[in-house]
Amino acid sequence: MLLRILRRTGILLASLVASTVLVFAFMAVLPGDPARVALGVNASDEAVGQLRREFGLDRPLAAQYLSWIGGLARFDLGTSYISHAPIGPQIADRLMVTLWLVVTAMVIALVVAVPLGTVMAMRHRRPSGVLLSALSQVGVAVPAFLAGILLITVFAIGLGWLPANGWTPPDQDPVMFVKQLTLPALSLGIVQAAVLTRYVRSAILDVMREDYIRTARAKGLTPTQALRRHGMRNASIPVITVLGLQLATLLIGAVVVERVFVIPGLGSLLLDAVSNRDLIVVQDVVMVLVLAVLVVNFVVDLLYLVIDPRLQVSSR
């Protein structure tokens, strides 16, 4: 077990280093000059060259790369080309906002999907289960931003119950924070719930076909009792995998909903930085996103070990 953890840690570190190279190489081929964007439409070539030197863009790529990852290793994300502000605190702020949104959405998704998916699985031969299943299919087919637009139209503009958009940090005004978080979290959560429901359902259906459940049923337990006593633990494994991945990819996936609800999250920061060619910000944000996915995968892997000791021996 320890060996496995060590091995996974090694892979995590190697992946991190590999991804810094990938990300940096990608930035190097990005056309468009940050210095020119900063100086605007009428800038002279001399001024642009001067600013490029200031940014260090005239150095060889290898030197630029080394100074970047050197900074990363010291947790120094550098200074934005465009705003001249340190990037670390900016990313931390934006990440916080996006995490609030994404985690709330995932909680909503879980609260909806687990019971619903279970019901769908247990009743999969009955009309109610079939109906729920069909509904979840429709839910998967709706783009999240469309859900957001519909929610705004009905609850913000139609009924006036909640604000249509905006963001207030929780320590500034907790009531407003909750009000403004509700609709975006719902629109993200509903769509994720539709997806998650289908995983829960199929995980439970798989488990219910296992021999140990049949044995339990033969001993006279109802399907629900058998599931609760013997199946839940096993069914949770694929669901956790999916949950982890949803969480990590939603950090960027939420950008569409952030745009609809005017939320200053990580995705918006990335889009702005891309269009301003604030390359160092782009690099840093992408690295944060990649780091998040890798770490979540790592944690999910460790969770397997806790939940399902069999995985220690079986080679996947």
Binding site: P31, G32, D33, P34, R36, V37, A38, L39, G40, V41, N42, A43, S44, A47, Q50, L51, S80, I82, S83, H84, A85, Q90, D93, R94, I152, A156, I157, G160, P163, A164, N165, G166, W167, R259, V260, F261, V262, P264, G265, S268, L269, D272, S275, N276, R277, D278
Partner: protein, 509 residues
């Protein structure tokens, strides 16, 4: 913030309904003292929705209209400012004299103004600010200060500026950001902490969301009505509308989705203000590259476009049709829309004659709402006349700036030139992306700048006419200034002809 809109609606109708509505709304109103028209100055708060957040607050090193839009005339003041009619009016300079050779300007300055860091504003600060443009600014706009030979403080309240040669544009440019007066010990952190003498002082900046400006308690002029004005930034025009509809903001500063105005126009809770801007939406041509170097091809394009219909479809009919690079608010405006009336037959014939139908023209537009919208109309119109057009969207700013603007790798593009009096910048310099090189226009422009104000008008008119006749570009229309606000908000800047979104006159009736 819901209550603010509610309050605004009240102010508009000070009748018996007030009593009923007030009691109904009191539970949600955290600030009852701000009710109706009787709000005490300084306690009232206003939120203005704008597009495009500044990336930095330092316009000495960063281009981009968003910075002066927020700060100029509000946080920073200038010696002279533009009023709503485009006339130059006193600001920090209470009066000024021009010598008879039109090279020396003597400004009398107010002795009451103070920077928000406590320092009084004197002529020395003015000298410092002017010199600093030439010395330390990095944006291209600094070149407007090149004409200054010397600036000196005669006394604390008198400033003398000597020009190398007479220039009509210099004083005008002093109303823009390069005329902003800064304090020598207030420039340590221009990007995040601007220090000026204006009616507002910089409050806080929630990056990615909003900038808050607080009324300057020591302002030397009339105190602003609002104690706090928040500029809230939106990427998405629809989100901006929704924010007004649900009371998150009180004003939409610049409407980017004119089609959506219909929902406000019939609504008694809102006022729609339509004014004018300096933003000429130009269908620019690459004047040195075939086939656009052919006058007949350029003329064919101008005849092929139905400007009225174009404005109706892509900007919901708001705006002004212009025939050259001059907005009607400039003194040398002349109606030139008749030079190239919509004439499909003539366009077709010119296309035939030039054989341009065999070439695919690259219409490379920036990803901006008006350009994306109008680009589709232009393409459709040109194809009706027999042109072949490939519409190519380039990400703005980065990709468009490099491809079209710097490398001039395009045949046609669409962009709004929003700088005031920018005819010379766009068509007077053969290095500019339009690559327009016309000696006649260049001479007229030079004479206009150094001549008397009367000569300026004559020569500018001539230049505008020449380049329109020469079809140096097609002028699609002039962007309107569209503002939607809660009823009862007063003093909104109807015309956006300066670089500033002037908040100093705002009030509540």
């Amino acid at each position: 913030m819901k209550s603010t809109r509610f309050v605004a609606a009240l102010g508009a109708a000070l009748t018996a309904a007030l009593v009923a509505a007030c009691s109904a709304g009191s539970s949600t109103n955290p600030n009852p003292s701000a009710s109706g028209g009787g709000a005490a100055p300084g306690s009232d708060k206003l939120t203005v929705g704008l597009v495009a957040e500044p990336v930095s607050l330092d316009f000495t090193t960063n281009d981009g209209a968003a910075i002066p839009q927020a700060l100029l005339y509000n946080v920073y003041e200038t010696l002279v400012k533009l009023d709503q009619n485009g006339d130059i009016k006193p600001a920090l300079a209470t009066s000024w004299k021009v010598s008879s050779d039109r090279k020396t300007y003597t400004f009398d300055l107010t002795d009451k103004a103070k920077f928000t860091n406590g320092q009084p504003f004197t002529a020395k600060d003015a000298v410092f600010s002017i010199d600093r443009v030439k010395k330390d600014w990095t944006t291209s706009l600094k070149s407007a200060m090149d004409v200054v030979a010397d600036a000196k403080a005669v006394s604390d309240t008198q400033l003398q500026v000597t020009l190398k040669q007479p220039s009509n544009s210099w004083l005008y440019k002093m109303t823009t950001r390069i005329g902003a007066m800064m304090a020598p010990d207030g420039i340590a952190d221009l990007a995040t902490k601007p220090v000026g003498t204006g009616p507002y002082e910089f409050g806080t900046w929630n990056r990615g969301d909003s900038i808050s400006l607080k009324a300057n308690p020591n302002y030397w002029g009339p105190k602003p009505h609002f104690g706090e004005v928040v500029l809230k930034y939106f990427k998405d025009a629809t989100a901006l509308n929704n924010a007004l509809l649900t009371g998150t903001i009180n004003v939409i500063g610049t409407v980017q989705a004119p089609e959506s105005l219909k929902q406000f126009e019939g609504n008694s809770k809102y006022q729609v203000i339509e004014g004018t801007t300096n933003g000429e939406v130009v269908l620019s041509f690459n004047n040195v590259k075939a086939p656009m170097n052919n006058l007949k091809v350029r003329q064919a394009v101008r005849y092929a476009i139905n400007h009225k219909a174009l404005m109706d479809t892509c900007w919901a009919g708001y705006g002004t049709l212009i025939g050259s690079m001059v907005p009607p608010t400039d003194p040398w405006y002349e109606d030139l829309t008749g030079l190239y009336p919509y004439d499909l037959a003539k366009a077709k014939q010119l296309v035939q004659e030039t054989g341009v139908a065999n070439t695919t023209l690259r219409l490379r537009i920036p990803t901006l709402p008006y350009a994306v919208s109008c680009g589709q109309v232009v393409k459709s119109d040109l194809e009706q006349a027999g042109f072949k057009v490939a519409l190519d969207q380039l990400e703005f700013p980065a990709a468009w700036l490099t491809t079209v603007f710097k490398n001039a790798d395009y045949d046609m593009s669409i962009v709004a030139h929003v700088e005031p009096r920018d005819l010379g910048a766009v068509f007077g310099n053969p290095q500019y992306y339009t690559r327009y090189d016309n000696k006649q226009v260049q001479q007229d422009l030079a004479k206009a700048d150094t001549g008397t104000p009367q000569e300026q008008i004559t020569y500018m008119k001539a230049a505008a006419k020449t380049l329109s006749e020469d079809a140096a570009a097609d002028f699609l229309f002039l962007l309107p200034n569209l503002i939607v606000a809660d009823k009862g908000i007063t003093g909104l800047p109807k015309n956006a002809i300066s670089e500033s979104f002037d908040l100093s006159q705002l009030g509540r009736s």
